[in-house]
């Protein structure tokens, strides 16, 4: 089940929502389909493993689980060119290693982070790409084309636009994909950045992960729109709505936006409707019951992206029913899963990352005073 390094490239098409004669998914091979499922397992395993490690007291900081939202990351990343940029935020940790994973999870040449790097960050080790100076998702890599975020929500979108602008000046047309929660679309900088990108038709695609809640605040208290994608109308740019539980629908919609962007037609917003499985962060798991009923949570979680992906694969004949039942990670609370619920290479991939991290040293205290300024050019 090791992924192959084949590169699927969809033919460029204009963005015509709901009317596209063929869907992006139609150009995916059976291997691609199976790889999408694998990547869902990978994202899920990363998350459940960290949840367990955290519960055992082995990790510092707050864990913002992406459980139940994996299809947004996998589906949006799968169609990117290796040289495209991404800008993940707090709930997007798997994006760091899923970027360009199509070219081989363990391929050192791929333009994405290794699991060793990501685990080093989570475990506060000096081998983290940021040498563990800022926490959790606040890593990035210029070389790997991943923008480093601050905590300030929506704050990386103007940076994404700047990267796109610089790239255009250099004659490139790399796409920059940014992630954003639905609650964070209320930030002023969201507006300023997308307005600027729209004025200059920059290839910036903003994924809005609409998981219905911003911490303890429901959608209707942060946005006046039923579809957050409608924010796009304020900038005369496309606003697409994807089923965030369906990796293929995410893939289709994001590919529309990406091709639109790459063709020089400018930015768009892709809202992926999903649901946050747990509390805002692990510190909020218990308190979340105050503001979300059990029923709401159950119904929100009922459409597991792994299960939905399997249905697609079985329907298409890319997976037998027996194969589909082999690794049953879906529809389970993180703590209910065991390693047997995941393909062995998924487990070993992550485990190697953790092993590496555990074996790495923490950064020395003196580094606290370093790198305030670059000394020479």
């Amino acid at each position: 089940m090791t992924p192959t390094a084949t590169k699927t490239k969809a033919a460029p098409r204009k963005l015509e929502p709901h009317q596209t004669p063929i869907l992006a998914r139609d150009l995916l091979t059976p291997e691609d389909h199976r790889e999408l499922l694998n990547q869902l397992y990978l994202a899920r395993y990363f998350d459940v493993r960290l949840i367990k490690e955290k519960k055992r007291g082995r990790l510092r900081g707050t864990l913002y689980s992406s459980h139940n939202q994996e299809a947004v990351l996998v589906g949006s990343l799968y169609g990117l060119e290796p040289t495209d940029w991404i800008s993940p935020i707090h709930r997007d940790m798997p994006a760091f290693f899923l970027k360009d994973a199509k070219n081989g999870w363990r391929n050192p040449e791929r333009i994405g982070m290794s699991i060793e790097e990501v685990c080093s960050q989570v475990w506060c080790k000096v081998t983290s790409p940021g040498r563990a100076r800022d926490n959790w998702s606040h890593i990035g890599s210029k070389a790997k084309r991943i923008i480093h975020s601050t905590s300030m929500l929506a704050g990386t979108i103007p940076v994404a636009a700047g990267v796109a602008y610089a790239n255009r000046l250099d004659g490139g047309n790399d796409v920059v994909l940014t992630y954003n929660g639905e609650g964070s679309t209320a930030q002023g900088i969201f507006h300023e950045a997308i307005n600027f990108a729209a004025v200059h038709k920059l290839p910036v695609v903003t994924i809005v992960e609409n998981n219905q809640w911003a911490y303890g605040t429901p959608l209707e208290l942060s946005s006046p729109n039923k579809d957050v994608a409608d924010r796009a109308k304020g900038y005369s740019i496309p606003g697409l709505v994807a089923d965030g539980q369906d990796v293929l629908d995410v893939y289709d919609k994001v590919m529309q936006a990406v091709e639109h962007a790459r063709a020089g037609n400018g930015p768009s917003i892709v809202e992926c409707k999903t649901f946050r499985a747990y509390g805002h962060g692990d510190h909020d798991d218990d308190r979340a019951a105050r503001y979300r009923t059990k029923e709401d949570v159950e119904s929100g979680r009922s459409r597991d992206p792994i299960a939905i992906c399997k249905i697609h694969l079985v329907n298409k004949g890319y997976l037998t029913k027996a194969e589909a039942k082999k690794y049953m990670a879906e529809n389970k609370h993180a703590t209910q899963t065991s390693d047997e619920d995941f393909p062995p290479d998924v487990v070993s991939y992550m485990s190697k990352g953790i092993e590496f991290a555990l074996a790495s040293p923490p950064p020395p205290a003196e580094e606290g005073a370093m790198w305030v300024f670059r000394e020479e050019n």
Binding site: R60, G61, C124, A132, R133, D134, N135, H138, T150, S151, M152, L153, G183, S184, A186, Q187, G188, I189, A214, Y215, G216, T217, P218, L221, S222, S223, R287, R290, Y291, P362, P363, P364, A365, E366, E367, G368, A369, V372
Partner: protein
């Protein structure tokens, strides 16, 4: 509002002290409202407003969109419209996103209108380092606002001060920035019995002598008060007695109390966890040097954060922040000058 009850005494922690102040003021003042992210249904990221929405309604305790600038601007407008407003920043670090509305709109309103309008408003939020919060959940950025005329600035270090100063802030006719030290929120060791009613009030602009001493004056606030007290213990072991002054209010500053102490000790060490350059430690040092120069028998010193952000992992964080050791050492050097 349910205060944490100690099985034997009735001690309250810092967080519940704040909560009781806000609750009591909401009860006393029907024109008071609270705005912030997740402060209603959830009761706030740390629970400072827990239970208030159920008690006072969704209109008086409102969950805001993730829009710090609008939180401040809307609060300012509501104050213009006759309300007293408590605006929460989920972490004080995010205040940077509402910066213009604070320093240019709110802080100057009274000045611009030659006194016609005043803005009774408290902007409060969890602040400070030492908790592994990293760059954006550890800041003490009060100096930005100390350099922006029109804002009072408060930072309590004990539950009784937290309650007493919060009441004063909520009754003050001016905008007040209230820095809550999140590492003290639930610290058991510092729980206290609180006064009730108006007896609980602590006025703005009055420092507190946290410990009396004769050999050196340690001036500080917030989390560092506790570090200075520990340092004072260390100094006592060396045979020196340190006076620890918790200024509690930065703007306006109680200069008299510090000067009176310097008359006695003739030695000054200022401690705070913000970056050194243009931080409030330097301001205290500058004021005392200009106003109490003749009392100083040794160069005054400051112990501050290095001029760096606050890094994530503990050893790095402690490397850049003031510590009991650094304070003790600096105080010894100052005493032995």
């Amino acid at each position: 509002m349910a205060a944490t009850l100690d099985p034997v005494t009735t001690k309250t922690n810092y967080l519940n002290a704040l909560k009781s102040a806000i609750d009591e003021e909401m009860g006393r003042n029907p024109d008071m409202i609270c705005l912030g992210e997740d402060i209603g249904i959830l009761g706030g990221a740390f629970g400072v407003t827990e239970g208030l929405q159920a008690k006072y309604g969704t209109h008086r305790v409102m969950d805001m969109p993730i829009s710090e600038a609008a939180i401040v601007g809307v609060s300012c407008g509501a104050a213009l419209g006759g309300k007293t407003v408590m605006a929460e920043m989920q972490f004080i670090d995010f205040i940077s996103c509402g910066f213009d509305q604070i320093v240019n709109m709110t802080a100057t309103y009274h000045y611009r209108t030659a006194g016609e309008v005043n803005i009774p408003m408290v902007i409060r939020g969890p602040a400070g380092g030492y908790g592994g919060g990293a760059l954006y959940h550890s800041q003490m950025n009060e100096a930005w606002f100390a350099n922006s005329p029109g804002l009072k600035i408060v930072c309590p270090s004990t539950p009784s001060d937290a309650k007493g100063l919060m009441i004063s802030a909520l009754r003050d006719p001016n905008p007040v920035l209230f820095y809550e030290i999140k590492e003290l929120y639930r610290k058991r060791e510092i729980e206290e019995e609180l006064n009730a009613g108006d007896d609980a009030i602590v006025p703005l602009g009055k420092a507190r002598i946290a410990r009396e001493g004769a050999d050196v004056t340690l001036v500080t606030y917030g989390q560092n008060v506790w570090h200075c007290l520990e340092a004072a213990d260390n100094l006592a072991k060396e045979g020196y007695s340190a006076e620890v002054i918790d200024i509690r209010t930065l703007v306006p500053l109680d200069e008299e109390t510090i000067i009176a102490s310097l008359q006695k000790t003739n030695r000054l060490v200022v401690v705070n966890e913000a970056p050194m350059t243009c931080g409030f430690a330097g301001e205290i040092l500058a004021r005392m040097t200009t106003k109490a120069f003749r009392y100083l028998d040794a160069p005054p010193a400051r112990v501050t954060r290095l001029d760096t952000p606050v890094p994530w992992v503990k050893p790095l964080e402690l490397h850049v922040l003031p510590s009991v050791e650094k304070i003790t050492e600096t105080a010894l050097q100052t005493i032995r000058f």
